[in-house]
Symmetry: C4
Subunit: 210 residues, 4 copies
């Protein structure tokens, strides 16, 4: 039951955070020119909204897959989960900051995009911490054999590696960095996952029974 | 279980989105004349709020009916569902933009209403994509016979057709277009649905057992 | 299942609406005098927040009690429930408007309080509509005998009567009207309810089993 | 069922309140200097966000533990729970006020931090009221022996004592007071809890079965 409530609470926070993304979209104020070009000028807001929406969507899928394999909830896991959610809830703020400066053409565009990447990195590292926590005996339904841990740890670290890349590219070009984050999110939704790993499992997702 | 969590996550997002509609209603600032005429001048906000509220309400009913017939969840469905929710979460922004320009009397009123229609169209097309996805064997509890697919595809496309109409009328008169969207939402709540189709089914809705 | 999802959706909307009330509380901007007197000047916001919080809390309790007795969900009930939620979601806006003008000392204070009462009245009348809907055979688990309908209809109308009173008093004194709404909400939480009626039932509330 | 809905409703409100914390984070407006130093100047917002996030996280854990031991729901408990949630929903406002004045260096920094402490104190006292309510026979699954009540009452009062300390330190130094609140939240997550008390129980948290 505790686990069910952990899932429900996390789901609630993730659902609210993904919806608050839309509050970052500003309605053009009348009297500042025609509406359509104004909306066009806001393209960074819309692009940032879409990328963050799919990113949080992926977090939800991954959170679901990870927690479904956990067999017990202790205070360390609660803490790791809270830190993970703390970064998820920061995403709307980081998205708004990034979108505001994305096309500023100055050093600030790099900084704003880097801040965005740092928030996503914090989220990814929390997932890695959750994986490390789950390696102890009795904490998951299926124990990961020691000789497979290295491979799984690598898989779990992909998110952290991707966002490190997003961080690095931010200092070359903020829009390119955003595109990289967006492509990664879409790719991750469709990425094939080998059976029997700690990652999201297709056979589990395909079971529609309750 | 996966399907139950998909429903719960979607319900959460839809519930937050419908509630955020009210954030678009602006409180008149004291010192700008009497309150009652000011509230009267805000009628586009209230009309837009009501139309969007019932529209999202219908989306929730339809989402429920559609997902209840699905037998498995795969990554393509997760993606389609995320795209659907992306448009749902855009509705408060589109509503605020539309309400702001509804009575501007300029070209912008047409553009703002058209933007609103595009968001609803994106949502309706996502529903159509979900229907096409569900045609493959084993994805729904009850398979749709091939000779009935054409009729069902038409039914599923009604929303997309209505919002195409709303889009078209937007360029004639924005308030008329809003009225059309409102009438459609109310109509859809009460529309009789033939039994045995993929649409929302009365007999299912009437079963109160859990 | 349909009923369970109706409850979950309604609960979600009510939970978000009650939380959005806090967005109406404005943080004093530095440079406009000492903080404590500024917060003191905001007392209408805090009073309005508390009254609306308990009012929505009561709505949640009553909604729960009403729906728990319903045996089937049809499209008319879905529509009535959406109208009820439409008014619930308007409460944060009505609260903010009322709090802004509560102490303006002008005609606007009466208007703002009356608008607040109208929103609560709309919510109460939706509850009455839900009661009338439930009188048809087969729509509730326990049928209300015809000779008890009059008494129950009266009970169900108490909310509508109270808010009519709040509306009337609004034109005498807005703060007095707010106090009446607050006292009613607190009273209603503790009001004894005769067993076997359509109202919230103590024996049901007291059962802690899931 | 009533208890399950009480939990779900409380969870929903707590999840929304914790997410609204992020709305207090303001995006620096372009044209006011470089982005990075501006974000650095906003450190009180980030520190306040983190402390309040973990504080609400702890409230959720404690609420879960407390309610799990309750055997019945009556109107008094509903009222106490609403008062508790009223204070939880105030936390984003109190956090924003506190963060705005934290480094103002004036008397207002003490006042703002004290307001924050008062809100947390109100929440902690609501928990104590819930404990006192639960002492009557039949209200919890496991009755607390009379000779253990004193010890348990003390344990339950720790939160109220801590926030009284936070209140007192607020008048010495607001940042120090915030640090105390933060350390307390983190400590409470990991605090060992003696078995068999009314507090959150490790063995219960460790059971991952649904």
């Amino acid at each position: 039951m505790s686990k069910a409530r952990l899932e429900a609470f996390s789901d609630g926070i993730i659902a609210v955070a993904i919806t608050l993304l839309a509050l970052d979209l500003t309605v053009p104020v009348p009297g500042h020119g025609a509406l359509l070009p104004q909306l066009g000028d806001h393209w960074p807001q819309f692009a940032a909204y879409a990328v963050s929406f799919f990113t949080i969507g992926i977090i939800w899928v991954n959170h679901h897959a990870r927690v479904s394999q956990i067999a017990m909830v202790d205070r360390t896991l609660l803490f790791i989960n809270l830190v993970l959610l703390l970064f998820v809830v920061l995403i709307p703020f980081a998205t708004a900051t990034m979108a505001t400066y994305l096309t500023s053409g100055s050093e600030d565009s790099h900084i704003a995009m880097a801040v965005y990447a740092v928030v996503l990195e914090g989220m990814a590292l929390s997932f890695s911490a959750m994986f490390e926590w789950s390696l102890h005996e009795g904490r998951t339904h299926v124990v990961v054999p020691i000789d497979q841990r290295r491979a799984q740890r690598l898989r779990t670290s992909i998110g952290a590696l991707v966002y490190a890349g997003v961080f690095g590219v931010a200092f070359i070009s903020a829009p390119l960095s955003l595109a990289l984050a967006g492509v990664s999110a879409i790719y991750y939704i469709f990425a094939p996952v080998p059976r029997g790993t700690a990652g999201p499992e297709p056979e589990e997702l395909e079971s529609g029974s309750e």
